[in-house]
């Protein structure tokens, strides 16, 4: 048929050469990048919105931390330090907060910042029960300007969490024009704050950029720009870090983290976090609940808790990057963290599990040695985990084996995060038995995590539908107890109660695993909760070019 003649050969060769040459030329013409002046953050999640009151992603939270200021902020040790306020005076047993404001501060659009902006922001959130933060200001009775540079917040109850740390201050002159009805969908496309960086752009699904605000009141950060780039998968984001395309990855999965330790010019750091993962039981007593009623028996839950070894879960499911769990508050909360006494421990004790089940009357066994209730129902439950969360799926598998050993049969199914939320939080008839999931504290204060199993949070955060009148009472009490020692005592009692009742098996407190380039920026400070995507913003402000 056709033969490749000499001309054809030359022609083909020329085309191939041109293609290769073109590719090589493109490869060599990489654009100039401003490494060492731009701080590049990589992650697999995108920011979701630019309205600081209604956005949800942690990436968005970091953008707001740099564009806006709060009245107070955290340092690397999580102590409060002045920010827009230079001083705070707390009076009337924690009910009244008087802030003295920094003077000569300007908004990024050139207008002067004043006490009116602060009052406006607090009332905006309180009066509209606005977004994420509305619930924190229900007890705020008064927000007023005192003189020219002071603001006073008055609460009906003492506050354990300084309100200065909760919300960023937004400019009155830009926000007062937004009508009440438009607030929920206000996109705030060009955020203007008083913070150390100004908002530049957000390419949805790709990259967000902020640039240094040279008119900021504080010491000038070394980074001229900060970018947050979204990558498609954990593997790719880590390759980008190894390659030097980004400077820091705040959350590295345990499975990848071990391999990262050998990478050149990459430093890996494991920090304690404010999170836990747990196995939760459907404790709903509502007639509409479709959960297996045998789980309402505390002995069954306690037996399951005794059956499994938390140490083993940490080692096998979490590759060792965490601490075995106890109750709601991780050790990062210091003295608030609870450790059960020797008699109270419900962990890694299959003998005790069998005793508990025998005593509660689950002595008969069916096929395969599965225990039965007195009424003849098999101790057989469904367990649900999020397919993408590999550590949870692995933990569920280990839990199934442990439960089987004490005569309880579990069947695993998986879903995505939203399917999980819809199933677990379905107040109209929760159709699940056991789930594996986790929580991350939204604030550096025990109330957030402690609040999960309260009766008030049914329909909100209460994911097991477990309630206890005494627990609710103690919760309300600790929330207004400003004296730390007294509060620790209450919080300890609450957790002991919750631990013994076992609506959760808190499996572990996982580490925050971070990887950062050592050849671009130095001076990264390890912080409880992570170097970035955390309560303090100090690392963005303090790192220096390598």
């Amino acid at each position: 048929m056709t033969e490749l003649n000499r001309r054809g050969f030359f022609r083909t060769s020329a085309v191939v050469a041109a293609a290769l040459g073109g590719a090589a030329a493109l490869a060599s013409c990489a654009p100039k990048t401003a490494t060492r002046t731009v701080l590049r953050v990589g992650s697999t999640t995108d920011i979701d919105a630019l309205n600081p009151f209604t956005a949800f992603s942690t990436q968005a939270y970091d953008v707001f931390q740099l564009v806006y200021d709060k009245l107070m902020e955290y340092d690397a040790q999580l102590n409060l330090q002045p920010s827009l306020a230079t001083d705070v005076e707390v009076t009337e047993g924690g009910k009244v907060f008087t802030y003295t404001l920094r003077s000569a501060v300007k908004w990024q659009d050139g207008k002067d910042f004043s006490a009116d902006d602060v009052v406006f922001t607090y009332l905006l959130v309180r009066d509209n029960n606005y977004g994420t933060y509305g619930a924190y200001f229900k007890e705020l009775t008064e927000a007023t300007k005192v003189g020219d540079n002071q603001v006073r917040l008055v609460y009906s109850q003492p506050q354990t969490l300084d309100p200065a740390i909760i919300i960023p201050i937004v400019p009155k002159h830009l926000w007062e024009g937004v009508s009440k009805d438009d607030l929920p969908k206000y996109a705030n496309e060009k955020p203007i704050g008083t913070g150390p960086f100004t908002f530049v752009s957000w390419e949805k699904g790709s990259v967000a950029t902020v640039a240094r605000n040279d008119g900021w009141w504080g010491p000038k950060p070394a980074a001229e720009k900060v970018t947050w780039t979204k990558f498609g998968s954990d593997d790719v984001v880590i390759q980008a870090l190894r390659n030097g395309d980004i400077d820091i990855v705040a959350e590295v999965p345990p499975t990848i983290y071990t391999g990262l330790k050998d990478a050149s010019n990459v430093t890996s750091t494991a920090m304690d976090s404010f999170s836990f993962h747990m196995i939760g039981f459907n404790c709903s007593k509502e007639p509409a609940s479709k959960g297996n009623r045998l789980l309402l028996d505390q002995s069954v839950r306690q037996a399951l808790s005794c059956a499994v070894s938390r140490q083993q879960l940490v080692e096998l499911a979490l590759s060792g990057y965490g601490e075995p769990g106890a109750d709601l508050l991780p050790p990062t909360f210091g003295d608030f963290h609870y450790t059960p006494g020797p008699d109270a421990v419900l962990d890694n004790n299959p003998g005790k599990a069998n005793d508990l089940l025998d005593k509660a009357g689950y002595t008969e066994r069916g096929d395969d040695g599965i225990r039965k209730s007195k009424a003849g129902a098999l101790l057989e439950f469904r367990i649900l985990a999020i397919a993408d969360t590999a550590v949870d799926v692995k933990a569920a598998e280990l839990f199934i084996t442990a439960a089987k050993a004490v005569g309880i049969n579990l069947k695993l199914s998986t879903t995505d995060a939203d399917g999980m939320g819809a199933t677990v939080f379905n107040t109209e008839g929760p159709d699940w038995d056991i789930m594996v999931w986790g929580w991350d504290s939204a604030f550096y204060d025990p109330s957030y995590l402690l609040g999960i199993p309260t009766t008030d949070q049914i329909g909100g955060n209460n994911d097991t539908f477990w309630t206890d009148a005494r627990y609710d009472e103690l919760y309300a009490q600790q929330k207004t107890t400003v004296d730390k020692d007294a509060r620790i005592k209450i919080v300890q009692e609450m957790q002991a109660l919750h631990y013994a009742a076992c609506p959760y098996i808190v499996m572990w407190y996982q580490k925050k695993l971070t990887g950062n380039r050592s050849d671009t920026w130095t001076g990264w400070q390890p912080i409880n909760g992570g170097m970035i995507l955390n309560f303090p913003r100090v690392n963005y402000l303090d790192v220096k070019p390598a």
């Binding site: 048929m1 979701d48 619930a135 990558f231 390659n243 819809a422 199933t423 609040g451």
Partner: protein
């Protein structure tokens, strides 16, 4: 012909209407709802949740939600994104643009290279070259796209350092001219395009090869050769042209599939296109974005089929006009 086109257009409209209704119902029947997603972990009380629900119209019965949706659609309003808190139209338009840059180039390459290789293989039927090309393309076809993508990243971006790992542009780049920006885009395009071409080319190699082989054994090919035409002319003028019909079908199917079928490539290479947008919207139950995306896919598929119907008629007058 006008009547034929008219009837096809009628079917097109009917199909789109059905798609619209199915899309809407399907997504709203999925387990999970955006408000539980938003409320999770945000300390929202029942009041706030109810207000969110009513704000997004999710408290209305499904049929009236549907009517509102269609009414807005006719005004060119695709709705309000739950997660991005802004109109859906511009978000989807931007993602579609990004996807089109990627799929136009890779589709052209897949078709041109695929048909070229197919013809080349057919003209060397039974030789080692033929066998090598067929087996080679089959091997790549059977590989998972994301794996090929990871492999390309590992070789060309991480090991050799020639090309960027991901994204459309270098995040912190300084562009002196618009050409350097285009060059940067081109650099970012190479790996995802390679991944798509490597995996998808087999379809066109195999289709064009087998179709051409069938044509080559026709009598009129012998006649053409007997007339003393050059082998090249016989192959391209008489062979390839007649073998093109199945390729047209494949092209229309392929083009419509790639608009939505690039999820894997876009995810691996962090390309901010439709695939990634859909993936994120499904995870976040962002119904308005999902509905808009799938509506666009449906429109593309239906239009591509319409176009191929017309192209058939033009390529082959024997196609009946009924």
């Amino acid at each position: 012909m006008a009547q034929y086109v008219g009837r096809k257009l009628g079917y097109l409209v009917l199909t789109l209407a059905a798609v619209l209704a199915t899309n809407f119902t399907l997504f709203h029947l999925m387990p999970g709802d955006p408000v539980t997603h938003i409320a999770r972990g945000q300390h929202l009380d029942a009041d706030a949740i109810a207000r969110l629900r009513s704000f997004y119209g999710l408290d209305m019965p499904l049929p009236s939600q549907f009517i509102t949706y269609v009414a807005h659609l006719f005004r060119g309003d695709f709705g309000w994104s739950y997660t991005y808190q802004t109109s859906v139209g511009p978000i989807v338009a931007k993602a579609l643009g990004n996807t089109l840059i990627l799929v136009t180039i890779s589709t052209l390459l897949v078709i041109v290279l695929g048909v070229g290789i197919g013809v080349f293989a057919a003209s060397r039927r039974g030789t080692r070259t033929d066998g090598g090309l067929v087996i080679g393309s089959l091997v790549f076809w059977s590989l998972p796209t994301f794996w090929v993508g990871m492999l390309l990243i590992f070789v060309f971006a991480v090991t050799l350092g020639w090309l960027p790992i991901a994204g459309m542009f270098t995040a912190d780049a300084v562009y002196p001219t618009v050409f350097t920006k285009i060059a940067d885009l081109a650099r970012h395009l190479i790996l995802p395009t390679m991944a798509m071409v490597l995996v998808d080319i087999a379809q066109f190699v195999l289709i064009s090869r087998s179709s051409l082989l069938a044509v080559l054994s026709e009598d009129y090919m012998t006649t053409a050769r007997a007339k003393g035409l050059s082998p090249r002319r016989v192959l391209w003028r008489h062979g390839v042209r007649n073998a093109l019909l199945p390729v047209v079908t494949a092209t229309s199917l392929y083009a419509s599939a790639t608009v939505g079928g690039t999820i894997q490539v876009e995810t691996v290479f962090s390309w901010p296109g439709m695939g990634q947008l859909i993936y994120l919207s499904v995870i976040r139950r962002d119904y308005p974005i999902m509905e808009a995306c799938f509506l666009i896919f449906a429109v593309v598929v239906v239009l591509a089929n319409f176009a191929s119907d017309i192209a058939y008629r033009l390529l082959d007058p024997r196609v009946r006009l009924t």
